[in-house]
Symmetry: C4
Subunit: 202 residues, 4 copies
Amino acid sequence: MSETGRTAAFSDGVLAIAVTLLVLDLRVPVRATLEGSLADALGHEWPSYAAYVTSFLVVGIIWVNHHAVFELLGRVDRIVLFLNLLLLMLVAAIPFTTSLFAEYLTAGGARARTAALVYSGVALGMSVAFAALFGYIGRHPALLAAGVDAVAVRGSILRFSVVGLALYALTMVIAVFSAPATLAAHAAIALYYCFRQTRATA
Amino acid sequence: MSETGRTAAFSDGVLAIAVTLLVLDLRVPVRATLEGSLADALGHEWPSYAAYVTSFLVVGIIWVNHHAVFELLGRVDRIVLFLNLLLLMLVAAIPFTTSLFAEYLTAGGARARTAALVYSGVALGMSVAFAALFGYIGRHPALLAAGVDAVAVRGSILRFSVVGLALYALTMVIAVFSAPATLAAHAAIALYYCFRQTRATA
Amino acid sequence: MSETGRTAAFSDGVLAIAVTLLVLDLRVPVRATLEGSLADALGHEWPSYAAYVTSFLVVGIIWVNHHAVFELLGRVDRIVLFLNLLLLMLVAAIPFTTSLFAEYLTAGGARARTAALVYSGVALGMSVAFAALFGYIGRHPALLAAGVDAVAVRGSILRFSVVGLALYALTMVIAVFSAPATLAAHAAIALYYCFRQTRATA
Amino acid sequence: MSETGRTAAFSDGVLAIAVTLLVLDLRVPVRATLEGSLADALGHEWPSYAAYVTSFLVVGIIWVNHHAVFELLGRVDRIVLFLNLLLLMLVAAIPFTTSLFAEYLTAGGARARTAALVYSGVALGMSVAFAALFGYIGRHPALLAAGVDAVAVRGSILRFSVVGLALYALTMVIAVFSAPATLAAHAAIALYYCFRQTRATA
C-alpha cells in the first residue's frame, strides 16, 4: 500500500475505534442496587443516548470529510502526518468529552457550562486541525494527486475551513448559555453537513 | 482504495470492534469478595455467556450480509454513507444492549421484559436501517457495480428486507412474554441465516 | 477486495483488537488507597504481567497460523465464514479468560484450578475450531487458490491439527495439578510454534 | 494482500487501537460525589491530559517509523514476525503505563519515581525491540524490497538505533530525579523525531 493509503487506513482505524468506544459511555444500571423500574432508570439516562447519537454523527462526518481530503492527495510528507496526528488526537478524545457532557448535561449552572465548553472546545480544536491540514495541502500543490485542480482545491478549502470554524466557534458561544442547546447545535451541524454535501454532489 | 472500498473497510472496522468489545461484558468475579467456589460464581454468570455467543452470531451475520450488499455496489453517494452510518450506530450499541440483557435476563417481570425489548428493539432498528440502505440501492441502479442485475437485486431486496423485518418484529412480541425465549429466538435467527444462505450459495 | 481478502481483513481486525484489549487487564493501583510502595504493589501484580505476555504470544501465533491458512484459499463459502466466526468468538474471549486466570493464578486450590481449566478450555476450543476450519478446507479442494497442492495441504492439516489438539488437551491435564505450570505450558507452546515454524521455513 | 502487507496492516491495527485506548485513561468526575467546581476537578486531572498527549505522540512516532521500516521490506520471515510481535506487545502496554504515570506523576518520592521508571522502561524496551527488528533486517538483505540499497539501510539503522536507545536510556536517568521532567523529555523526544525527520525528507 502507498504511504498515503496506509495513512488513510491508520486514520480510518482510529476513527472507527473512537466511534465504537462511544458505546462504553452507555452504562447498564446495576441490578443489585436498582430501585424502581428499569425503564425509568434507562429513561433517566437520556443524555447518554443523545450524546451517543450526536457524537456518532460528528465522528461519522469527520470520517467522510477526512476521506474527501485524502482522495485529493497523491503523497504525504511529515507535516501532513503530524497535522493528521493532531487531528486524530482530538477525535480520539471524543469518547471522553461525550461521557463528560452526558454526565453533566442536566447538572445546570457552571458545571453544565464547563462540560459543554469542553465538548465544543475539542470540536473547535478538531476544525482548527482540519483547517491547518487542509490549508497546508492547498499551499503545497506537489502533494496533490495527478489530475486534481489546485485552484479549485484552494477555493473549496477556504469555504470549508471558514464555515467549519465559524460553526464550531458558534457552539462555544451557545455553550455559555445552555448545555442542551449546545448538544442540539452539534447534532444540527452534523446533519447540515450531510444534507449540504449531498446536494453538492448529487 | 475506492470510496466504496474505504466505506466497506470502515464498516468492517466498526463491526470488528463492536463484536470484540462484547468481551468487556464478561466479568471476572473479584477474588477478595468471592464467597463459595469460582465454578459456581462463573456458572451463575451463564446469561453473560449466552448473550455473548448470541450477539457474536448476530454481528457476524450482519457482517456477512453487509459484505454481500457492498459486493453489489460500484459507487456510494452521501445517502448511502448516511444510511450506512445509521446502521453502524445501531450495531455499535450492541455491546450495551447485550450487557443490559445479560444483567436482567433472569430478573423476571417488568425488568427482564424491558431489557428484552431494548435488545430486540435495537436489532429491529438495525433491520430497518438495513432495509432502508438496501431499498435505496435497489431504487438507484446507477450505484450498482457493472454486471449486477438490477431486477434480481430488487427481488432479493424485497425478500431479504421483509423476512428480516418480520423476524425481528417477532422477537419484540416474544420479548413481552419471556426474556430467555427472546435470547433463544435471536440465536435461532442468526443460525437460520447461516444455514439458509449456505444452502442458497452451495 | 475479494471475499477472501475481506474475510481475512475482518479476522485480522478482531485478532488485533482482542490482543490490544489485553492491556485492560493490567490494573493501576489506586493512589488514594495504596499502602506501602508502588513497586511492591506492582510486583504483587506479576500474574497479570505473565498472563498478558502469554496471551499476547498465544493470539500472535493464532494470527500467524490464521494468516497461513488464508494464504491457501482462493475463495470462501458460508461454512468457512461460519467456522471462522466460531474461531474468532473464542479468540475474542481471551481477554476475559486471561483476566480470570491472572486474578486466580495464585489463589490455590479449586479456584486456581477452575481458572486454569477455563483458560485451557477456551484455548482447546480454539484449536478444535481451527482443526474444523482447516479440515473442511482440506476436504474441499475447490476452495484452494490456484497452484496450491491439495495433497500437501491435507498432510500438513493432519499434522498441524493433531499436534495443536494434543498440546492444548495436555494443558487441560496440567491445569488439574497446577495453575502456574499451566500458564508456563501455554507460553512454551507459543514459543515452540515460533521456533519450529521458523526452522521449517528458513 | 502480501504477507508483508498483511503484517503491516495487523501492526497498524494494534497501533491504532493502542493509541485510541489512551482515551480510557481520561476519567470523568462522578457527578454524585463531585465537590466544588467541575472546572477545578478537570484542572486537577492535568497529569492525565499531559500523559495522553505525550503517549499519543509517542505511539504516533512509532507508527511513522514502523511504517518506514516496512517500506523497505520485500518479504517477512518468522523472526521478523516474532520481533514485530514483541514490539507490538510493548506498544500495546502503553495505555497501562500512561495511566500509571498519570496517576502517580504528582505523588512525589519513590512512587512517582517508580511510575516514571516503568513508563521509560517500556519505552526503552520498545526501542530495543525496534533496534533488534531493524538490525535483523539489516543483516538479511534478502528481506529487502527490490531497489533498496542494503548499505544505506545498514547505515541509517545504526544511527537510528543508537540515537533511539540513547534517548530512551536518558529518560531512565531523568526518571530517577523527576517524574514531570521525564514526561516532558518523552514529549520532547517525540517532537524532535517529527522535526528532525521532516527536515531530512523535505
